[in-house]
Symmetry: C2
Subunit: 392 residues, 2 copies
């Protein structure tokens, strides 16, 4: 099932652009989405409502012809890059090749992804190609609404994620406690060791990942701290896993917080409030609600209990210091956001996280995160993992 | 040992720029190199010869203050992002915050990485900030010359790489052959299974990686085809591994080609020629030589034997269809390149691959790749792995 690009076509037509131009490797999600081609080094995709054309190096030409979702594939040599480089130098030659490619497809005015490289943009503008950065990110908006096949890809990645979380929880469960520090197989159980277990499990399930968070104590009070060193008993341990399925390239995302032993009263309150904020956010998740509505539902729980949120205090360093969620797909963070400024209405097919949390260096961090798809009449939680936190 | 940025300072001074501006996550190597800060979402680094200042979200503020190699860290809230967003919308508010940040540091004219995002650039230009894409990539040139500590990081990653290659070769060695297909533990031995072994080994050695190439037969004749499916006896199997050490973020890179069984005469000639091209390229590797000189040395071996190269036929689809090597560091592909157009002289501290290969769908692919550092009087091969290919 191909994605629905009708809103993109409408934007191009309304704004008077001939097409949409990308210059990036497939690590840029828009590039993979529009081209269907997976290549590490930058290549060019020209999307028009009529045609999708790629411009690639000779090295990628064979693969691009076989694998890309494109009507036409050109390579640099088709426009005499080699001769042009001998005469003008490589950079100027590439610009001339790109201009010739655009001319072949009758394109002189393009919108680009906001992250289009400035160096290439200025070189094209010097040759009278009109480029306008698409600040409203129409490709990102198209990507945000998933087809059934895309939701299934997220579901597959989430199954791997659950296996990895289970492997991590099992390590905590099997660990002993000695002088307040967890031990496993005779050694201190470190954040690094738990991450290794998670990552090996994900690899065995066909997933890759850049980073995993296993953070304990004060580390966990910084939401993006990945955590390091020995894990301690009686303190919250935040485990946040966001793998990418290698085959589909779609992500999943889930967080659980565990305590091995006995949580403090303060940590217990953090977890209870976060569970309540999590439930409140899910109650607000439905088509027609905005991301800000869902975020507000979570914030209210915390604010009512006297904790700062970014809504009540934008400079807060403790309390609820991030947004309630984000879209997940080819990027682990993508549209739609569930934050104070998110005024776009949610719609069926949006895949988002719900991930409230409370943070204070004196208590630690607590976060709970599920991933869900918005449906016609509410949502379907794609996560199948209990929200239990005390590990005996 | 801090990197030598004197050439960058000189460029800024000569060109009349106040500083160098980056807007990217640390996946952009220049960003990590100049900021020393590892964060997935885009943040801002302003480098001037006097100071390095970061602008980050509240979510990253605590970590940035602790971890970044910066003289000053600011967060969006320091310039009232929240109030500005309420009045002007989030995008315009971010632009105003960025302008206020630049004003605080007295900066009105900046050079940027060529990949600076066009959307941010155009918004700043509308507010009279002068931005010029640094098309000569001065930060990339600085990154290309490694300190001793950086070379050591590559060496550590390369040790992990060798362990992974050993694990892969052992799988091939222990496999049986049945009806021309390799079998291991009763199942067909697939490219995917070998990659899993490689990747688990790398994880156990503290490395991450996005992709690995294990390609057999016609797959291997496309240099960037990652390979899939059952591996076959008597055909060249290209294994190309390029891990990133998770702690240092530096890469290694190595390729070996194996045959389980008996190679064809054609494949044998491919390997002999590639070994000769490999030796010739290393013979040419020394400070003062250009990347083109090293590439020419490899090309001559193939051309003398009657095979096309990109130098003799820029549109060639078989033969020697890529360049001889590339720099390796925070990026797996970085400066300096060893290609026909590489006219910059190599210097001590450059870390490069030497990786000639021959490709033909009827024969398969053969590639041999080591990684080396250019020294004052030649080079030091950082690779410790034999170049043997027939696996009994």
């Amino acid at each position: 099932m191909d994605p629905d690009l009708s809103a993109l076509d409408e934007f191009l037509s309304d704004a008077g652009h001939d097409g949409y131009l990308l210059h990036a490797g497939s690590d840029l999600a828009d590039q993979y989405y529009l081209s269907g081609f997976d290549a590490p080094d930058p290549f060019v995709t020209l999307y028009t409502p009529e045609t999708t054309a790629l411009l690639v190096s000779g090295l990628e030409y064979g693969r691009a012809k076989n694998e890309a979702r494109a009507d036409a594939v050109r390579r640099h040599a088709d426009y005499d890059l080699h001769a042009k480089a001998a005469e003008h130098g490589r950079r100027e030659a590439f610009t001339r090749v790109l201009v010739a490619f655009l001319e072949e497809f009758g394109v002189g005015d393009v919108a680009t992804n906001g992250r289009f490289p400035l160096g290439v943009a200025d070189a094209l503008r010097e040759r009278d190609v009109a480029l306008t950065a698409d600040r409203d990110d129409h490709v990102g908006d198209a990507r945000a609404v998933k087809t059934e096949a895309e939701v299934e890809s997220v579901r597959v990645a989430q199954r791997a994620n659950e296996a990895a979380m289970r492997a991590a929880e099992d390590l905590l469960r099997e660990a002993d406690t000695e002088s307040g520090v967890l031990r496993y197989g005779g050694d201190p159980l470190t954040a690094e060791r738990v991450k290794e277990e998670i990552e090996v499990t994900l690899l065995r399930h066909g997933c890759a990942l850049d980073e995993t968070i296993v953070a304990c104590g004060a580390d966990a009070a910084e939401p993006h701290n990945r955590g390091s060193g020995p894990l301690r008993a009686d303190e919250p341990i935040v485990i946040d896993i966001f793998p990418r399925d290698k085959t589909s390239k779609y992500h999943a995302d889930m967080t659980r917080t565990f305590v091995k032993g006995t949580p403090s009263d303060a940590a217990r309150e953090f977890h209870e409030l976060t569970r309540a904020a999590f439930d409140a956010a899910f109650d607000a998740l439905e088509p027609g609600a905005t991301g800000a509505d869902v975020h507000a539902a979570a914030c209210e729980v915390y604010e009512d209990a006297g904790y700062p949120t970014l809504r009540s205090d934008p400079g807060a360093e403790t309390g609820y210091i991030h947004s309630t969620g984000h879209g997940v797909g080819l990027d682990v963070h993508e549209a739609p956001g569930l934050s104070d400024s998110a005024d776009v209405e949610l719609e069926a097919g949006h895949v988002v996280t719900i991930e409230p949390g409370l943070y204070d260096p004196d208590v630690g961090g607590v976060r709970i995160e599920d991933i869900a798809v918005v449906t016609e009449d509410g949502y379907e939680d794609l996560t199948d993992y209990p929200v239990e936190w005390v590990v005996e």
